[in-house]
Symmetry: C2
Subunit: 464 residues, 2 copies
């Protein structure tokens, strides 16, 4: 595979074909977004008027741009794509993103247009992402080609490939405003006339910025090729996939969305399992799982320990673990001995640890800190899921022991969850996630995420 993706994700210069100085127009929004992200490369707006746009001189055509250009971004109507595209080819621009819609997803004329675009690409060697896409973001390059106002995109280790405009826009907005992890690369592939998932996944597999790849997919044109690549990538880093159209109703809907043929879901599922892809079934898993990977290590195994402010939540955790195929850890003699010392005498020790007989003597902060450290130290424990009680009496800073313990035991993930007061929870969650302790509500999301990441780790190990 070529290195063309460095032009897509780390271009030193970009031309925006269809740039506009009119606020609210797509050709303006894209510039606003690029500037909000602080893109440091050269920007060459192309606009038939040749007027200045947001302080940049603009060019009447690509031919007029005096210097080399790495990436061309098209935001002109479909029927106005071909001419500037041929100019890009003439200028040997290696990479293009065509954002505009109105191609094969609309009518036969659009389909023919798409074929002509592809012919230009094939002849010139230019690679094309799109058309009909929300485009790319790449935080290392401070770059985004999306039209949706995202503001500064937070940098982090997660990369997404999404066969939908929604992900790189609305969902990314949610991640930027509601979550505390960041992204490396985001690729919306649109109609996929040239660049497909397999190539992007291969690149992200080699990309040192990317710790894990999360995908939303409705179908592949070249499924075999994709799974061949996936088998290699899952040996190196987690690949997580939500497949749209896994049900009959969903498949019909997917066909009308991206003309994807869903195929037999059992066959697809088997291919994922064989190639080490961890499938998930809910849209929000794409966020929860990313958070788990971004903030904590992968769980070294399936043995979970938990601690809860009440017995019932302990039962709920045990039920959820077993249902998910996780194991409640058997605590070592040393752990049990110490738990016996700090618990009330009549308590039946178990996992999850019931904190109600411990907190009255040690106080909620010391009690949790001591028990969590006990569990992290226990060789029979792979991950710790504390259920904490959010209360105005416990300011967020008092949870500082959690990031401290996480640094001290860097190979075992800590996923926190809470019950109690919402406002105190919001503060505690912000404090903790900014310090790399992910917080999940409802609590089952913590365990579901752990289970997905256990599957990812098992795929990594199998692949070695």
């Amino acid at each position: 595979m070529s290195d063309v993706f460095k032009y897509f994700f780390e271009p030193e210069s970009v031309t925006i074909i269809g740039a506009s100085k009119t606020p609210g127009k797509a050709g303006n929004e894209i510039l606003v977004n690029m500037l909000a992200n602080g893109y440091a490369g050269k920007i060459y707006p192309v606009n038939p008027t040749g007027e200045e746009i947001m302080g940049f001189p603009s060019y009447r055509s690509v031919k007029e741009i005096p210097e080399r250009v790495d990436l061309a971004v098209f935001i002109v109507p479909a029927e106005k794509t071909l001419e500037p595209l041929r100019e890009c080819a003439g200028k040997k621009i290696p990479a293009a993103v065509i954002l505009s819609a109105g191609y094969a997803e609309v009518d036969d004329q659009g389909k023919r247009l798409q074929e002509e675009i592809l012919a230009v690409a094939k002849t010139s060697g230019m690679r094309i992402i799109g058309p009909n896409t929300s485009g790319l973001s790449s935080t290392l390059a401070s770059l985004t080609t999306t039209l949706f106002p995202l503001g500064k995109i937070r940098r982090g280790p997660i990369s997404y490939i999404a066969q939908t405009g929604n992900f790189a826009t609305h969902t990314m907005k949610w991640i930027m405003t509601a979550e505390n992890f960041g992204v490396a690369r985001v690729a919306g592939l649109g109609n996929k006339i040239d660049v497909e998932d397999a190539e992007v996944l291969d690149y992200l597999g080699r990309d040192p910025e990317t710790k894990a790849v999360l995908m939303y997919v409705e179908g592949f044109r070249q499924a075999r090729r994709f799974f061949e690549v996936a088998r290699e990538v899952t040996r190196k880093k987690p690949v997580i996939m939500l497949k749209g159209g896994r049900s009959k109703a969903g498949a019909e809907r997917a066909f009308s969305h991206t003309a994807s043929l869903a195929g037999d879901d059992r066959v697809f599922d088997a291919a994922c399992r064989q190639t080490g892809i961890a499938r998930v079934t809910r849209y929000f898993d794409l966020i929860n799982v990313a958070k788990g990977i971004a903030l904590q290590p992968l769980p070294p195994g399936r043995r979970v320990s938990s601690l809860a402010p009440s017995g019932a939540l302990g039962v709920v955790v045990a039920d959820a673990c077993e249902t998910l195929g996780l194991k409640m850890a058997n605590h070592s003699e040393a752990t049990l001995k110490r738990l016996r010392e700090i618990s009330a005498s009549w308590v039946a020790l178990s996992n999850p640890v019931d904190m109600s007989p411990i907190t009255p003597t040690l106080g909620p902060v010391r009690a949790y800190k001591e028990v969590i450290e006990l569990l992290l130290r226990d060789e029979g424990v792979d991950a710790v899921v504390p259920i904490l009680l959010a209360s105005p009496n416990i300011p967020a800073e008092q949870y500082a022991y959690l990031p401290e313990l996480s640094s001290k035991y860097p190979h075992k993930p800590i996923y926190a969850t809470f019950t109690g007061d919402k406002q105190s929870f919001d503060q505690a969650r912000a404090f903790l996630e900014q310090r790399s302790i992910p917080v999940f509500i409802p609590l089952e999301h913590a365990l579901e995420t752990l289970q997905v990441l256990c599957r990812c780790r098992e795929a990594l190990i199998r692949g070695r």
Copy 2:
């Protein structure tokens, strides 16, 4: 069954045995909580010192209380319960809640004490809830016996029975601070030496304040009796249950929590289905489902319509519906005709409705309003789940059309969900839920809740 529950849930006078004037002590917290809730009946604190407590004269013993007492609340140590309990019996107090722990859950001495308490109750006819419980709340009576600082408990149509102290305390705090629905009665039954679930469920079945009963249960002493009652109650109102200990690990944990024997879960599940109880499997379902019932009508059937700002979310909804056993509604000719008029010409109409070709012409507010009304009017549609786009450009008040449409079509539930900007979402959610439109995130929670309530409604109909 007797009417003793009017003394538990609507007492005209309460004695608090073990009341204290020392802030932070349990016997003080309970008074603070009762006053915060504005309990309007008479309060008689009992304390050996006989001193004034928070403005109330206190009594050295129950015998000294000059007037009739409906409910006695015990917050004295286990070994100090019997004497005042006998005095309560002598005074013919009909109902008692024993909050204190230290009984059968601790040791044999506690178990013997429990038996003596039960003997006093049986002889005198006094009914007892507890011991070892977080107690009762009853918003109609502005009453709570919980020790946990809940503040004023919001009144609403949901009643809970929970075999755990956590629910009436920490989880209720979450409901009061993070949710926008209210409760009618909350009963934590503790060791259940006398009053059991069956009786409380029977009372709540007859209680006009209670629209639905949600339960957390680990086990029953008299399962057959309970299911007989449930069969009657589910004909009148929804009964939803989370069963702790449905897995082997959970069952072990439940035994050490409440000494409950979980039994064969398949047998339990069959009994629930036969008696119309809707089982749920996640702790948070007890909140989500309550929200759905409290704010909207039960869905008249399983045919769901949805509308989404992007194709992928539509696929996700269709997949989730089919997986849950819901149906994507087939829209009527009239609905399709109008959708064709307002959509771009090239759009393949389907369910969920893709809003992306409609909003550009009508604007996001009018577009959603018009399509949601179309769907509500369609006789083939039982429930509408709009996926909205939260944005700083759409102030919360602009969602006023949703409560308006809900009033106009009062028999079809509307459950909203969002993608986009978190802060705008928070404002929109508060605005909508305060106006009876429940908002669910992640979106799958909306569909899962609908499915549970479809099962509840089917049980109501079967029972007729």
